[in-house]
Each structure stands twice: as C-alpha cells, then as structure tokens.
C-alpha cells in the first residue's frame, strides 16, 4: 500500500481524521486517538510497531507525532495530534502498543503532555523532582550554553 492509500483508508473509516496538506501525515483529533489506534493496530492495516513518539512545541500548540510501521506489510504511517497549550491531556496508547510506555513517559518528561490512562507516568530522563519541561521553547535555565555566534 502506498502512503496515500493508507491515509485514504483511514479517512474513509473515520471522517474526523484529516490529512496534512502536502504530506501524507494524518491529523487525528485528540479525542479519537484511541479508536483510530485500535483500528490501525489490527488487520487489515496491522500497524503492529509503534516506532517513535515525537513531541514538537510549536509555541501556540504542542504536536505529538506517532510514527508507526508494519513489520509484516512493509509500510508506515505518521499520525499527528495537535494539542493546545491549555489542555495537554491525551489518552495513552500504551495498552495497545507496549512500546508506548517509555516513549510516552519521555514526551511527558520533556514536554509536559499528560497521557491519561498511562500505567506509570513518571519522569524518565530528568530527575524525578525536576521543575519545568526542558524541550519547550520557553524553557530557560541559567546553565544552558547560549547559541554559538554566527
């Protein structure tokens, strides 16, 4: 299956899902992440491998990006979820893909996105008592080395 076919298949099933312009990334509203995940995990799409979860701080919003692959079928899909900075709650997919457990903890640690339903949502890379979310753009720490002059 080509990326556009996968995207079309998902959009046919869930009308609320959109496609990002210019790419084949799929934008899922945050309410429906669980049902979409449930659907694409199982055949016919069978995305059995949650490869990576990325957070991006876009200042006005925080994007959470799920990179998924299917080992058996040799294709992949990228799912995007936009979160406004007022409401950073999102359902955890760690019951569907076990690998989400640590990946979600990492996004929580670095961006402060709260994954509800996660079995063990603690900080992972930073110390447990760390203040702030380091990868946000407004994070500041006096110990940070400034950008090299260009």
């Amino acid at each position: 299956m080509r990326p556009d076919e996968i995207s079309a298949a998902i959009r046919a099933k869930f009308p609320q899902v959109k496609e990002e312009a210019g790419t084949n990334y799929i934008i899922v509203p945050k309410e429906s992440i669980l049902e979409v995940s449930e659907y694409i995990k199982n055949p016919p799409l069978s995305f059995d491998n949650l490869h990576c979860i990325t957070g991006i701080d876009r200042k006005e919003k925080i994007e959470v990006i799920y990179t998924l692959y299917s080992i058996g079928e040799h294709y992949g899909v990228t799912i995007k979820i936009n979160l406004t900075s007022e409401d950073l709650n999102i359902a955890s997919v760690s019951a569907i893909w076990k690998s989400a457990n640590w990946l979600e903890r990492e996004v929580y640690d670095l961006f402060g996105v709260i994954f509800s339903g996660h079995p063990d949502l603690r900080r992972i890379l930073n110390p447990y008592d760390w203040q702030g979310y380091p990868l946000r753009k407004d994070y500041s720490n006096p110990q940070l080395i400034a950008k090299p002059r260009l």
């Binding site: 090299p148 002059r149 260009l150």
Partner: protein
C-alpha cells in the same frame, strides 16, 4: 539415556575446544604495548590538541563560528584594513576534538597537533592562549618517563 550420553560427550568436547583456543593464544606473541615507554604511532591526520600558527591567521572568525562547543574565542586589533590577533583563547576543557575548525580554516593556520596526553591537576591550565604555544612543551614534558 543415549541422548544424555551424547549430550555429555558433546558438552565435554565443547569445553575442551574452549581450552584449546585459550592455550593457542597463550603461546602466541602478545599484542599490547608497554604504554608510557612504548607509544603507539599516531596517524598523520590525528586530531589531538588544537594548535595555531599565528603568522598565518587572517582573523576571519570561521573557526569560532563553526566550533560546536564554543571553546575558541578571538579578540583582534583593527589597524585600518589589516586585522591582527590580540588573543586566541582555547578552552580545551570544552574541546571535543571534532576537527571542524581545522577543516574550515582557509589558510591552515589552525592545526590539530598529535598531543593527546592532556591530564592536569589544575583546571585553569586547560584554558590557554594559543598565541603562546610554548605552553604545549609543558604538556609533552608532563608524561611519565
């Protein structure tokens, strides 16, 4: 029972094979060096401490801009159009020996020396002015004889 006996024989034989490998190398010549007295020859392009040939420097600031860890700092004097170096600070505590500065230098003023024995007792010694390259003699002398 036959299987058990077979396992026993195979297992014992595998242990003997392991012993054969170790005794083989017991009689082979050693491969290590007696470090402080014997030293490994460094390759020609070895990236050790950063060195400077001040007469070649044209104060273009390329090295300062490319350095990923900001360990170089230059000040210069402007005399009409000609720039001359005033200080060339090099903080080897931060240096990651990536060789990018050597690569960007248009006049090959920055070179990577092959000095790699750089442990000191005083941190201040790690922040040096490269115009005074005599400091490096001290480094090479600190090695154990």
């Amino acid at each position: 029972m036959i299987k058990l006996a077979k396992n026993f024989v195979v297992g014992t034989w595998s242990l003997i094979k392991g012993l054969a490998v170790t005794i083989k190398y017991f009689f082979r010549p050693t491969v290590t060096l007696q470090y402080p007295t014997e030293k490994q020859p460094m390759s020609e392009c070895y990236r050790g401490l950063v060195g400077l040939r001040p007469e070649k420097c044209i104060v273009c600031y390329q090295c300062v801009k490319i350095c990923p860890t900001a360990c170089l700092a230059i000040t210069h004097k402007q005399e009409d159009k000609k720039k001359t170096l005033e200080t060339f600070k090099y903080n080897m505590e931060l240096c990651c020996f990536c060789g990018l500065c050597q690569q960007v230098c248009p006049t090959s003023a920055i070179i990577m020396t092959n000095i790699y024995e750089i442990s000191v007792y005083d941190r201040k010694k790690l922040d040096i002015n490269l115009l005074d390259m005599k400091k490096y003699d001290e480094w090479t002398n600190t090695t154990i004889k």
